[in-house]
């Protein structure tokens, strides 16, 4: 209790939640929660790691019910959660999306929606205008032309419906940003896409791209072979990442100063399942969106978010790597932060948690060479003076 009530401070302060640092070391058990409302999608994107056909009745039958999702959301609120991401598949496919959205917002949660925008209707746009999500909607845009867009989505008519949805968001002034996946079909449209994106009032930075595609989340040999072929080469990836060299160097300098160091035999070096997690479409609570290994997901139908966060996830975080190849390479590699290698990706690629993912290793080495962190033909895990190199890079780049 305060001793003296009258003060000169403002009674009420408006804050951007991400910048407020309200809790410092006293963060709520759960700050943000991802919910995959469905794995089904009305598009059939050629590179996608998760989409199931819209009419997959078996998948539909297994999905969480409206009440089950509401129960999870209520528990999330009781644990201090402030933000929920609705993703999928295509989350707007669910017939109860509107009901779930209103319920979530009325609980005092902010909602981030990942969507392809094809199912945005005037009714939904009006709803977002009246009850704003409080987070910018993120729209994936696969091309600026019908031919390129639909070569990726493999869904006739999806180009028109997506842009109709985007135009509704613009018309109703619903804050959103766009992002894309770079594929052979659309990579020549990148300038056109960025020029268009720059006109969207809520785009405060250039769009992001996925291009080092993940393999199918639940495995699928044939599709995985196709996804591998669609990935950009490390050289191409670097060219795209460094299109704006100044911005890239600035971001890398900040990134390297914080995250670049070897992680030894610690398998999960990312804070896995700390204050966050992902509920899949069927009620399994994953410590991260990518990690679907059956031993590391928690069945919410027979438990609670709280139990997973306090008892189950901490045990996973303690698991050590044992693969000798991993220990002699990834475990000693100072590019660990820069490299996208992680147990989830290793599992998707090779069915084991601690196998070096060669493609990601090549991408990281390509970037490290560009940044001057390693020399040609040098393996980053063999570099002994990595701290000096990292510090030189960070300081030198700061002075430039």
């Amino acid at each position: 209790m305060v001793d003296k009530i009258a003060t000169n401070e403002p009674y009420i302060t408006k804050q951007r939640i991400d910048k407020a640092f309200l809790w410092k070391d006293n963060q709520p058990l759960l700050s943000s929660l991802d919910i995959e409302l469905t794995e089904r999608c009305n598009n059939n994107c050629i590179h996608c790691y998760i989409n199931l056909p819209v009419d997959d009745l078996e998948a539909r039958k297994k999905e969480l019910t409206t009440d089950e999702i509401k129960g999870i959301l209520k528990e999330a609120v009781s644990l201090g959660c402030i933000s929920v991401r609705f993703t999928g598949g295509e989350p707007l496919l669910r017939e109860d999306f509107e009901e779930l959205y209103i319920f979530t917002r009325k609980l005092g949660l902010k909602v981030l929606i990942f969507t392809n925008a094809t199912l945005i209707t005037p009714h939904l746009a009006k709803l977002f205008s009246h009850i704003p999500p409080l987070k910018k909607i993120e729209v994936s845009v696969y091309g600026m032309k019908k031919e390129s867009y639909e070569a990726i989505t493999r869904t006739p008519g999806s180009f028109e419906t997506a842009f109709r949805g985007i135009n509704l968001l613009l018309e109703y002034k619903i804050p959103f940003v766009v992002k894309s996946a770079l594929l052979p079909f659309n990579k020549d449209e990148i300038d056109e896409f960025e020029a268009w994106a720059a006109e969207i009032p809520w785009m405060d930075k250039p769009p992001t791209y996925s291009m080092f595609f993940d393999l199918r989340a639940r495995g699928d040999g044939n599709k995985n072979e196709l996804i591998k072929k669609l990935r950009v080469s490390p050289e191409e990836g670097l060219k795209i990442l460094t299109r704006n060299k100044e911005r890239y160097l600035k971001e890398m300098k900040e990134f390297c100063s914080k995250f670049m160091h070897p992680t030894g035999d610690k398998l999960f070096s990312c804070g896995l399942g700390c204050h966050s997690g992902c509920v899949d479409a069927y009620g399994n609570f994953q410590p991260c969106m990518m990690l679907r290994h059956p031993d590391f997901v928690y069945d919410l139908k027979n438990g609670s978010l709280k139990d997973a966060l306090t008892n189950f996830f901490p045990k996973i975080r303690e698991i050590k790597a044992t693969n000798a190849d991993y220990l002699s390479r990834c475990g000693k590699c100072f590019l660990k932060g820069l490299c996208e290698q992680c147990p989830a990706k290793s599992w998707m690629e090779y069915g084991a948690l601690d196998t070096p993912v060669e493609y990601l290793c090549e991408v990281a080495h390509m970037q490290a060479k560009f940044l001057g962190l390693i020399k040609d033909n040098e393996n980053a895990w063999e570099v002994r003076d990595w701290q000096e190199r990292r510090d030189n890079f960070v300081v030198k780049k700061k002075m430039e």
Binding site: A6, I12, L22
Partner: protein, 104 residues
Amino acid sequence: MDIKVNLSDIYKPSEDIVARDIQGELIIIPITSGIGDLEDEIFTLNETGRAIWEKLDGKKTLKEIAQELARDFEGSLEEIEKDVLGLIRELLKRRMLVEVKKNA
């Protein structure tokens, strides 16, 4: 615009917002549009604001609230009344409160 507030008025939190206590911080989250100007905005109350907010139950007048606070905290009743009226004006500006009519 000057908002007129009297100590005999009664207020309660609006249904356009949700107030949540998260780890000891009172946070006000807008539900409908027009409360925050940007996406990703929330509101926090300082200790004075929070002490007053917790008494806004739609039953007590602002005068009664100030009198209760004067029993719990240091400060003259006059000072506390000033704080109560100040907060109420700020909250009304942001549509976070609704007035409860005495005969309703």
